[in-house]
Subunit: 211 residues, 2 copies
């Protein structure tokens, strides 16, 4: 019998992991507490203890959490003990920025392939990778059992690219296209749309014309 | 007496707005229903009706929602009837991509200023904007009453830049720096970290070594 862990709990684990690594780097300390983590993250310590308790007993009353151990445990829970190769679809400005982003290494990911349909971009080198034709998408993904893709394509082709990725075996998609994608149940999609994020904040601002 | 509307409800409004505009563009139809919207978004129709009911009566039993009217109402609720000028901090690869992103227009935002501290980048033209020195940050923001900023700077300077923005009057920050930022209560921060988003999905994947 397994207990289903809520998605929202899983969603907070990478935040804990990032903060623990930050803490280890900044403070050179060996242990932390749910109170310290909570204060740094703006999350209640009770929430952190409850989230972690789904996976085992990681801390001790009085001494708290051993940072290095908790980092390792979170990496295991999130399947980050090995590096995941990632297919990047789209070699425009944002694709270029993602290919050059140095925040993936040591955090579980490596951009391994870049695809585009623009003849002017195919063959171009991008941070050590050569942009491949989108025609090679399925073969490359199937041969390498690639499970993760980042989509940085225009909205009007995003669904078609998603369908091709899913058919080829991809199960996790990070999409920067500003549309909602349809995928089967076994596939997870995470969206990044700066406009949606900013629109969620303007609600709380006084509109410019009322000043 | 005002009723506080949950942040999570506000968070879904931009998604509804984006889908309504997509629907209007694609289907050339004048009306929609909570069922159609829900089906397209993977959200229950009851949830959509409940979210919208916080703000008034937008639809009619039988005829549903008039798309254009609901778009206008959502734009008003989210304070998007005028364009917000946005300060972009950081003119690296990602800053470059954001400065060139054409998804802001008609959705309520316009990148109005770009700042960097790198003498090699200051003065460079970026999609019609000239990169300004970070020394001009406070003056520019105060003079223009800028309320929104996008941070695309390394993690180790992100907090310092945030403090400067908040002191100058910024109240909404979209941060691409992979750290948790400390801000006063009246300031909203939204984070975009591709690694966190991908780590939230690898939990559901079989680790590569178990294949």
């Amino acid at each position: 019998m397994t207990t289903e862990i809520p998605d929202i709990v899983i969603g907070r684990l990478p935040i804990y992991l990032r903060e623990l690594r930050q803490l280890a780097r900044e403070e050179k300390q060996l242990t932390t507490s749910s109170h310290e983590l909570g204060r740094r993250l703006g999350i209640s310590s009770a929430q952190i203890r409850k989230d972690l308790s789904h996976f085992g007993e990681f801390g001790k009353q009085g001494t708290g959490y051993h940072i290095k151990y908790l980092i390792e445990q979170l990496q295991q829970i999130l399947h980050l003990t090995q590096e995941w190769p990632v297919a990047l679809i789209g070699a425009g400005y944002l694709g270029h920025a993602i290919a050059h982003y140095n925040g993936f290494q040591h955090r579980g990911f490596r951009i391994a392939w870049v695809f585009d349909n623009d003849p002017a971009k195919i063959g171009v080198e991008m941070n050590g990778l050569t942009v491949q034709s989108i025609d090679e998408l399925e073969e490359t993904i199937q041969q390498n059992h690639t499970k993760i893709a980042i989509i940085v394509v225009p909205a009007n082709v995003a669904q078609k690219i998603t369908d091709r990725l899913v058919t080829a075996g991809v199960e996790s998609i990070l999409s920067y296209a500003p549309i909602n994608l349809k995928v089967p149940n076994h596939v997870h999609v995470s969206y990044s749309d700066p406009v949606v994020q900013m629109q969620q904040m303007t609600y709380y601002l006084q509109p410019p014309n009322s000043r």
